[in-house]
């Protein structure tokens, strides 16, 4: 495995808890993320807070008040942790005016992207003003996705890769990050659904660690459309990182793309100094997702 200190590592899909989420151990969970992140070698957690995580409104359908509470907690965390933690602003697109105002408010305070949950199906017209605002601010949208939606699930209006692909095709200048290919459902369906929609990239997070999943992800999307992430299970993130390096799926350069370069490009993050020097020695790339079939 690459030494943690040798290269940057950006977790493109992280979450933090806060005092209003109804869990007495919220600070311990946050501390555990930072502890494990330090051991893995994470140099930046790109994170969001999902309202009150079900305490006063559903996790995937947060009320406007809970959205603000969560985003405020995320802003405070960014302030205390500096460059180690960057923020995605969470919004509920059912409340358009509130969502747009929240995006503007948090972007002004440093948010690097937008987080959409499962409050409204991804291809619904109500997401268009959100995507348009993302285009205006040049922000990516990380969209919670169920890999192959075969039915409705309670407490969420879940989307899958095909739903997100339709939204992405309507907004070709916006980069959409399809959440957690290991987060449940049939990732093989997802790869087929987004393969040809080049402004959709995917993050590797989620508890799913099926053998073959990474191979198929790289084969369908290329290493340049994959972002490393952990979500709720950091050990599976570390396992995937090691698998990428053990199995010879990707070149050393491809692995660096997955570890941090793709995320730095998508979120507009400045590479850390050591990595920046290496990046400067590499050929220039377009701002959008690259494709290179394997």
């Amino acid at each position: 495995m690459t030494s943690p200190a040798a290269e940057p590592l950006i977790d493109a899909h992280a979450h933090f808890l806060h005092a209003a989420c109804g869990r007495a151990d919220w600070a311990d969970v946050n501390a555990a993320r930072l502890r494990a992140g330090a051991r893995i070698g994470i140099t930046c957690h790109v994170a969001s807070v999902l309202g009150t995580y079900g305490f006063s409104s559903p996790t995937y359908l947060p009320s406007p008040a809970d959205v603000v509470t969560g985003n405020d907690a995320m802003l405070a965390l960014c302030k205390s942790e500096g460059d180690l933690v960057r923020m995605l602003v969470t919004v509920n697109p059912n409340f358009t005016k509130h969502a747009l105002g929240e995006i503007d408010r948090c972007v002004a305070r440093g948010a690097v992207g937008i987080k959409l949950l499962a409050s409204r199906r991804a291809d619904d017209p109500l997401l268009d003003p959100i995507a348009a605002r993302a285009a205006k601010h040049r922000l990516p949208i990380l969209h919670h996705v169920w890999q192959h939606r075969r039915r409705e699930w309670p407490n969420q209006e879940i989307s899958d890769g095909a739903d997100l692909a339709r939204l992405a095709q309507r907004h070709p200048t916006v980069t959409f990050i399809l959440s957690h290919i290991g987060g449940g459902g049939d990732y093989q369906h997802t790869f087929a659904a987004i393969r040809d929609v080049k402004n959709v990239v995917a993050d590797l997070s989620g508890s799913g660690i099926d053998r073959g999943m990474l191979d198929e992800a790289v084969g369908a999307l290329s290493s340049q459309r994959l972002l490393w992430g952990s979500d709720l299970t950091m050990e599976t993130g570390l396992a995937k990182l090691r698998a990428l390096e053990n199995t010879g799926l990707s070149s050393a350069e491809d692995i660096q793309d997955i570890r941090w370069r793709n995320a730095a490009r998508v979120f507009g993050l400045t590479p850390p100094t050591a990595a920046k020097r290496r990046a400067e020695n590499r050929p220039a790339r377009s701002a959008g997702p690259r494709t290179r079939s394997r």
């Binding site: 494990a36 508890s207 053998r211 396992a239 090691r242």
Partner: protein, 253 residues
């Protein structure tokens, strides 16, 4: 360290790359594991697993130094006791059973008979809570996850019963463990191939409450990434990183 939860052979519901003993040996070497207890994946779905067991014994014979067979025995199949004797003679350390796939309920007496017979033969009984996440299953894969009640019932079947339960999560483990007497708890070992690490730290919590000595190393290869259990151990809080796991070879000591 031994991987108690490895399998060979294809899976009926999705493509699994190279589920072969040659590759398994290579993977064990890479992960620093000394050996594995190996089942035959398709046998879980055969009506009569005996043919699968024969394939397993044959496939593992050239790898006997590292890979030990764990055949599948179905206790609602005629003359299953003969299969158990064959397993013992073949040097199996354990047998596998899949009551959910065979539609045997959590209190089915035939499963208890198998558990007791295994214990008498000093063979562990390996149970599998799930092969795949419920959310991704093929429409024809209608078996539910194993119920905690089934494990509780089997652990109470006799004092020589020894169970290794694979692919359980934290809630399942706690539901079983705290529903057993101290003596019954000692009859059950768990692999942690499906237990979450940080930030929720389920594995750390289980090591503090249930005890690391109730856990064994299992990967769920070839269905899951072999790197995961090691990653989980590597991310434990400092005070737990040197905790010892159970030695499955000492199950009947």
């Amino acid at each position: 360290m031994i991987d108690v939860n490895a399998l060979i052979g294809p899976y009926p519901f999705r493509f699994v790359p190279h589920p072969d003993p040659d590759l398994l040996e290579h993977v064990l070497d890479r992960e620093g594991l000394s050996g594995a207890w190996v089942g035959h994946l398709p046998s879980a779905f055969y009506r009569d697993p005996n043919a699968g067991n024969a394939q397993l014994y044959t496939a593992l014979a050239p790898h006997a130094l590292k890979l030990r067979p764990v055949p599948t025995i179905r206790p609602d199949w005629p003359d299953w006791e003969r299969s158990l004797r064959i397993a013992k003679d073949a040097g199996a350390p354990a047998v596998r059973a899949y009551p959910v796939q065979w539609q045997l309920g959590p209190s089915d007496a035939r499963m208890s008979e198998l558990a007791v017979a295994c214990g008498e033969a000093r063979l562990a009984l390996v149970l599998t809570v799930r092969f795949e996440d419920l959310r991704q299953r093929h429409p024809l894969d209608v078996a539910n996850d194993l119920q905690a009640a089934a494990v509780r019932a089997l652990s109470r079947a006799g004092d020589r019963v020894r169970l290794i339960v694979t692919a359980a999560g934290r809630e399942f483990i706690e539901e079983v463990h705290w529903g057993l007497t101290a003596e019954e708890q000692r009859r059950v070992l768990w692999d942690f191939s499906w237990v979450w690490g940080p930030p929720e730290d389920h594995l750390a919590k289980l090591f503090r409450t249930v005890g690391s000595e109730r856990f064994v190393y299992g990967t769920h290869w070839p269905l899951r990434l072999t790197q995961n259990p090691r990653a989980n151990l590597d991310l434990l809080p400092d005070d737990l990183r040197r905790k010892k796991l159970a030695d499955p070879e000492q199950l009947f000591a």
